[in-house]
Symmetry: C2
Subunit: 430 residues, 2 copies
């Protein structure tokens, strides 16, 4: 390994000669002196060239710099490198589409995405991905502690089930096949094997709408568990997963959060919850418009409910449960006490739905009845329904889109900003 | 949550009335008494029905059993449940294709795979997936400790680069696109952003060969890091990742390993390594057949080298490095001291190559030259090559197939046995 000290550790080496290595973040030619700012994964380090020395290397060129560490309260971290010997490690760097050293982002999103290999190096853009990585680790850690097993399931499936539309079709050794929109069927079957499972994996939707919250590929955080009493058990596990994600971001990515001026939510021991019908009543009373006949929440309603939750409960998180059966997938468990309503739920966070979940049907005959009630042919579901013939406990689960969560958490207006090389209707590269 | 005690915890409740829940693993009707064996995620529990009582529920039906815990040295764990009240939680289970309660597996692989939602419940089959989950967690943990950032990259790509053949083609909003065979290009570009990255994600190969070690979808454990001196730095990180996997299996899945009669390898602080040319010399000397002109290792050679490593170094693991350039991808760094040879390596484990890696080219002009030397048009690689125009440090990385690793570790003859719902030339469901 190139023997070097990370920028962040320079203050511990004052008075020593050390080597640092990283990207030439900025070259500052002042009248009397030239500074080089070197960026590595830990942060920035300032290098002072000797009087009269200059540097004509372009920014983003990779350098190794050997020199003497000297205390300087003006330098990042309070230390800088003097008497430097500079070695070039990369080719001469081509100029990025905008100056990466300026603290604010000066480019529009398409420019950022078109040149992602260079632009993602900007500390503000990079920070979102540190939050994302910490979130995924927190999700896994929380569920590991709760006795879940991690699984890896197929992303190529035989039939375009579940939502039917919006699937990508591919040529599978001469036969048609589809990219999985979710691991739904697999994770349910695996409750029969492990009782509690989770998966962190790509999911695919041929999403024709070009909004700030949809992607053709997203990272789905999925969990499913058996031996539940009802959907409130699933909501409790979902709460623990979210709390684990928040804790992990606090531990692993607090400087990224600070850089983004983003704040972590408090996750109450019990996240406030509202039945779907109560939610519509509250909205109707507040708006003066009767929405109690609706079957789903409009984006404006989700925003209003989140404001209500923050105001009434001091919580950025709110469960809405008991959605009408018609607005939830066919495998959703019906509420035995309220015909037409289900044991499905959503978790809203800062104005947007970030989790969908619920109790599922667990008896084979109930699946056949639910498909028949929707006028669907059970034949394409044969592989899926197999598990339910062999004894399945009452179970449920939930799914969260990592990018949407990260966008809400960091205040990114568009999920693409917190997606590495996003894929959408118009974008297939880089 | 259904309030219950896990089977494994029964001995701590002797003298108490408790509830357990799980699958009816086995019903044993003896002359004087009937036993029910209940399986949950922690193990097995024995339930004794009162004299004259019988049970006609089929095996695999999900039950809740309330009863009195009584010590019995003959019962699993030394305790059993008496005076039971049995509640049925699932529909009546259809019989699996073979008896899941028999300790040995009595079915052939195709039967197991066709009925995976039921057959994977067999403790011997389930055990492999616990090893797999523990391995993935160990990979991530080791690299987290080494300052790596987890990334999530696109699985849909614009051009069929890298190996060209063996890619799945899909319809992407009316345009052709391909499933990614590896995150190679993305992880390299992200070294420019994070210096050290890893990804655990599906990779896809339209593999026409129907062998025991190939799959159309596998789980790729990928890592890439910058600021290396040469490929030995990558091999050192690869060693730490493997050591972390082994440690994690020891901590999280030791009972699964025991059930499978599988043993963990010792991971030496430095895994023995051989240059490709030395390896061929050893094989030639041992076999009496001159293979020193070969460009790659045949499977029989890999097996022989592993036996040699076990014999000479007491190690189940062996690095072979310095493969000829022609047998490694175009982005492999050439050995400046040995024309025609590269800084690419493989890690062999118990007879099979489980890791491929190496130092990569890092200068833009070297990529153009390498493509030209192979007579390849650089145009489809434009998105890939972008990163190298903007300053990239010397870097390298490696990839491991999780299923192949787990198969070697657990002694599974076929990777399909340690893959949840495998996909191959012939298999697209369940």
């Amino acid at each position: 390994m190139i023997s070097r000290v990370l920028s962040a550790d320079l203050p511990a080496h004052i008075g020593e000669r050390v080597t640092i290595a990283g990207w030439l973040h900025r070259r500052r030619d002042l009248k009397s002196v030239t500074f080089l700012v070197i960026r590595d994964r830990s942060g920035l380090a300032q290098v002072v060239l000797p009087p009269a020395a200059t540097c004509d290397l372009p920014e983003e060129t990779v350098l190794e710099v050997e020199g003497l560490v000297v205390a300087n309260p003006q330098a990042p971290g309070g230390a800088e490198l003097t008497e430097p010997a500079v070695t070039q490690l990369s080719g001469l760097a081509k100029q990025p589409p905008f100056d990466l050293y300026r603290p604010a982002l000066t480019a529009a999103l398409p420019t950022i995405l078109d040149h992602a290999p260079a632009t993602l190096r900007h500390p503000l853009l990079r920070a979102g991905f540190e939050v994302s990585a910490a979130s995924a680790a927190g999700f896994r850690g929380a569920l590991d502690r709760l006795g879940f097993t991690e699984v890896f399931t197929p992303k190529i499936v035989e039939s375009a089930t579940e939502s039917g539309a919006n699937v990508f079709r591919l040529d599978y050794f001469g036969r048609p096949a589809y990219l999985a929109q979710s691991p739904q069927f697999f994770k349910q079957a695996l409750v029969g094997v492990f009782e509690r499972v989770y998966e962190v994996a790509p999911a695919f939707r041929a999403e024709p709408s070009d909004t700030g919250r949809h992607l053709a590929q997203f990272t789905s955080l999925d969990a499913e568990l058996g031996f539940i009493t009802d959907h409130f058990d699933v909501m409790a596990i979902c709460r623990d997963a979210v709390a684990g994600m928040v804790e992990s971001v606090r531990e692993r990515a607090s400087s990224a959060m600070q850089l983004l001026s983003a704040t972590l939510p408090e996750v109450p021991v019990q996240i406030p919850h509202l039945h779907f019908t109560e939610a519509l009543k509250l909205i109707s009373e507040a708006s003066g418009e009767d929405v109690t006949g609706e079957h789903d929440l409009a984006p404006a309603h989700e925003r209003w409910l989140c404001e209500w939750s923050a105001r009434e409960h001091g919580s950025d998180l709110l469960f809405v449960h008991g959605y009408p059966l018609v607005s939830k997938p066919f495998y959703t468990y019906p509420d035995p006490a309220r015909p037409g309503y289900s044991y499905g739920f959503d978790l809203l966070f800062r104005g947007v739905e970030i989790v969908s979940g619920g109790q599922r049907l667990h008896r084979h005959e109930d699946y056949l009845a639910a498909l028949a009630a929707r006028g669907e042919n059970p034949e394409p579901y044969a592989g899926y329904l197999q598990a339910f013939e062999h004894g399945m406990p009452p179970h449920g689960g939930f799914a969260m889109g990592l990018e949407r969560w990260t966008a809400r958490l960091t205040g990114a207006a568009n999920v693409r900003q917190v997606t590495l090389f996003p894929r959408d209707l118009h974008r297939l590269s880089p």
